[in-house]
Symmetry: C3
Subunit: 345 residues, 3 copies
């Protein structure tokens, strides 16, 4: 990318204020702008930075009237954030490839769209289907009989086991494992454990994004299901038979134990754990590091703690937890006042 | 799979009640049975589902007498769960392969059984030994001088460093790393850290199952050891010089710090952490998200909390933690009653 | 390795006491010494083991005078630990290779030093630079336009996305992902989430060691930065726009949320979580499993708990947490003494 203010003004249908010949080659936040950078001002809270920034071009809202001189060339548009995001997306739209890299191996019975790309050292197993526009980066495994929808990006070193499904318009980041055996064992009388065969599958619906080094186990008999629009961060554990409801968002290092069902539109913080076999109501918000040990039936509430309970109550308990030494002193004094023998301390 | 009730009856040595020509092609739980599914009823708690299920065939105990009409064909056997498990295992027993995939690379000095299978893009290093029946899926690395026993399954993208040992009848899921350097550094006077070379190894005994994206560091001088029959879930950290005792089971995202020894037959919940250099008695049960900061000497007890203490005591403390705001009010009132000046709140 | 006491004495410039012809072929700790093992005694606390150890050779400090008979041959040196560490380092210095493995793929426009080694099934993308002495193990991906400095070790299955930088003298363990997209989404009015393109990069400075299966996301517009000398253990999450200050050490399974900056020389325990957009003062010590929810401004202090507060205060609160049931009893008795109606229990 290397573009002038005049060209940007035309692209964004905006008004150029300042030198139209100034050129930019990268994006930056307004407070970190350097020469050659394009930045934007949308939130009035950041206005002060506009007078100091070294960014060469600033995209601003049409109604922005500088209170002082600004060194940057301005592009005035209807919605500065949207216009900046439009530029970001154009830059992010890395060119799609098609075809099979010469080092890749595609099984004879696999059905790969001519419009898909199979990257270096990928292994595409027997009976696999890969639809149009989908891109497999290097070292990806798609196990026998699995299906990958269209326009999906699968990054390096993702391993999809046999018989799983990945939807359309998904993104799966490097190192993620889909379809490993669920953790199911039957204790034997002699203290050993016998494996319960894991014969189910994983179904990932459309528009799902999954971070790096995530693990999603296959169901025991049915499917572990990641519903439409779900976003999972890195290093998340999804156990067998779990269902993550549509448009639920889960932050890094959280874990969901077997057979638990999360509703739609939940927001789960980092390092949260859910025990198995519970149901979480739609719209639940779970604070980071919480441990959810029981089903949540009321939708759209916030939860905190391990075990988790209502967010605001939990905050109050945590405040008093911090003051416990002081509370103990107060009890000591009360006992002294009442001359209760303090042999319990 | 596609089998009739008559064939199943013969296979399981059971009595067919209903239409013997009905055919099934998949397994399901009784409450989720569909046409064409085989299910089972073992636990009387689930009996109600038997009258509603759409499963075409139900395996039931010989003494089961339906209280109402059942649409499914029944197969009466001595032990319904065992018979169903037998079918699961037959389905799970995916055909073993042998030979070396044409895209794999096996070093000249490696000793691979003719009866083992080396999958696509596997790298088998110098002096490696892989015994009969063992299956390496795609993209597996077995580092120089390492040994993999017989009838072991290693899934895609597992990386075993040099000089490690994996036993017989093990299963290691995708993305797991075995033999990475332990985290050992000596602080220098200038605030830098100097690496302590990690010269030990990892020994994984027989009948161990390890989940996906697990990390097991090699010992500093000796071995990190995973004893016989241990089952590890996904995303678990096992630091250098750790020993996990035989038949211990650890749930996902738990971590064991350096040189800690877990006894036999322990059960460790998800996201548990152990500090380094402690010993955990055999049969200890550690609740999810606990932090174990001291050795546990008494065997077969349950622990909870961070830092962990006895399970039932911890539960009580957690109940009162939730009630802390109420306790503070009671102290307030006591002080009021005694006219103690409340300047400490 | 296989070396005699006489040879060791010469190598370490030490005095041999005992049989100079004794030979060792491995290292061990003094308390676990076996025949054929070389061990050392530096800390007087361990002196008792010197009289029992089966290690064939012991390196000891020159001023060590045995109080009893010792079976092992002694090598007396100025600093026993340093001499032993010297032997460890010599053993650890595995021979460096150079060249490109025949199964690897290096893009035509990549610039790989003749003195670097590109291992089996590695993919080195367009415009990549790999400097002298650097070693890529098997199945490594270096994405288009990325740079790897000199004398860096990258173990099997590490995936570096496009446009990232890894410094000189770094070590990156197997399965680690560098440069995956940060977790950034804008909620839409209909409850869906729209991806914020992640256009930044990851910069890893010199002398950094990163454990196995770690994830480091690229910045949104700028760089996620791992500064000089940082040591990261396994399974750590580093979100977009994070900066980890020089010589900071982080234990396994910790996570740092987006845009948080850790100062220099911090020590972070296992399973710790940091919320996003905070700053942590240099030299902060964060205890394992803590949750850091606010910026830490005072340097060189210790913190504990979730949410974290000052370490010693937190310990006191945790002691009283354990005694909560007893505290409640004391309040009960106070109320009884004052005849306050106990309807609140």
């Amino acid at each position: 990318m290397e573009i002038s203010a005049a060209e940007l003004g035309e692209l964004l249908n905006g008004e150029v204020v300042g030198d139209p010949s100034v050129r930019v080659h990268k994006l930056s936040k307004i407070e970190e702008g350097e020469q050659g950078a394009l930045s934007f001002l949308a939130n009035p809270k950041y206005e002060a930075f506009a007078y100091d920034t070294k960014a060469s071009i600033l995209i601003v809202n049409a109604d922005f009237e500088p209170a002082k001189d600004i060194a940057s060339t301005l592009i005035k548009v209807d919605d500065a954030y949207s216009s900046f995001a439009q530029i970001m997306e154009q830059l992010a739209d890395r060119s799609r490839k098609s075809g099979v890299h010469p080092t890749a191996f595609v099984a004879e019975s696999a059905n790969v769209s001519e419009d898909a790309y199979i990257g270096p050292f990928c292994y595409v197993g027997e009976g696999v289907e890969v639809k149009a526009g989908t891109q497999l980066s290097a070292h990806v495994t798609i196990g026998d009989g699995s299906l990958v929808g269209k326009d999906t990006l699968i990054y390096a070193g993702v391993h999809v086991y046999h018989g799983c499904q990945v939807g359309d318009h998904c993104i799966i980041h490097a190192g993620t494992v889909i379809g490993s055996d669920g953790f199911g064992f039957v204790p034997q009388p002699d203290g050993r454990f016998k494996k319960v065969p894991q014969l189910g599958t994983v179904i990932i619906e459309d528009h799902v994004e999954i971070g790096a080094n995530v693990t999603i186990d296959r169901g025991t008999m049915d499917a572990t299901r990641i519903c439409e629009g779900v976003k999972l961060d890195n290093l998340i554990q999804v156990a067998h038979n779990v269902e993550i409801g549509a448009h639920t968002v889960i932050a890094a290092q959280a874990g969901v134990s077997g057979s638990t069902k999360l509703g739609k539109h939940c927001m789960v913080g980092g390092q949260v754990g859910f025990v198995g076999h519970i149901s979480i109501a739609a719209g639940s918000k779970i604070n980071a590091q919480s441990g959810v040990a029981k089903s949540i039936k009321e939708p759209n509430k916030s939860w905190n703690g391990s075990p988790a309970f209502a967010f605001s109550e939990n905050l109050r308990s945590k405040v008093y937890f911090k003051r416990l030494p002081e509370l103990v002193k107060r009890i000591d004094e009360l006992e002294k006042a009442l001359a209760i023998h303090q042999n319990k301390k």
